[in-house]
Symmetry: C2
Subunit: 140 residues, 2 copies
DNA sequence: CCGTATCCGAAATGATACTG
DNA sequence: CAGTATCATTTCGGATACGG
């Protein structure tokens, strides 16, 4: 039986996915990749990383201005999480009033690249998605 | 004053981000890109898309098996959302017992590519992240 | 088999007040 | 300025029961 190009397409994807989530890299019960993906797959992390990408360093309130709609609490929580995962560094100056600076680590900058591509995809396909939504709503 | 290569790096990123979230593409108050990004930036959508990528078509319970830990409810909710946004198509056969098939649209497949890169990044940088977490925990 | 409907507890997030 | 602490609210998600 011939193996078509189309068949190979799915086998290829399956192979890539399986490689990423391979058992050697963690049990199925606690997969580190799932854990890591789950950690950054939220809008505040994504928008915070995008904001941090714009400058070399940023202060807390500068970030709060740039990440629209984020509360002080969620910015704190998000930054701590990013710091904990090695994507962001934080430096506090012992001055009055206090000054705190945040910036992306090289690891953070490498993730930024992927997030930019995702954001770019959203931007490019916006019309198609809005159209799909309207079509879906009309069917109901 | 000389503009260094490093300076240009941040200006470049800022330009790219601003272009993606440009005002012409939606007001700051309701930015479609933010809306769209927010929609797919959750783990169930991401893992469901990855699972769908593995095959041409999949039935509901096949998907439920593949997306580990997902409940029937969340799979339904996630699939409806993906369908609503034009990433997934659904076909129901009027048989008994009923059979329903889901598959990625071309739009969905293009997003899959970006998600694969994100997942791949997670996989590649797993060790660095775990190390960062340990270092962070030790500092406390 | 593939859902929907409902309820409920847990977790995420916002609002507000307070502090070094 | 840059948080922390607390409380209120909303949202998420699991469990269960039922239906086409």
């Amino acid at each position: 039986m011939a193996v078509t190009k189309a068949d190979n397409q799915y086998l290829d994807i399956e192979e890539r996915v399986n490689k990423i989530f391979s058992p050697e890299r963690g049990s199925m019960q606690f997969c580190p990749v799932k854990d890591i993906l789950g950690h950054f797959a939220d809008k505040w992390s994504i928008f915070t990383i995008l904001a941090l990408g714009k400058r070399e360093k940023l202060r807390f309130n500068e970030l709060k201005e740039m990440v629209e709609g984020i509360s002080q609490r969620m910015l704190t929580v998000t930054l701590r999480s990013l710091e904990e995962n090695g994507l962001v560094e934080r430096k506090m100056y012992q001055e009055i009033p206090p000054r705190v600076e945040y910036w992306l680590t090289p690891l953070g900058r490498s993730l930024l690249e992927k997030i930019l591509e995702l954001a770019s995809w959203s931007s490019m396909n916006m019309e198609a998605i809005v159209e799909a939504r309207n079509k879906f709503a009309a069917k109901k």
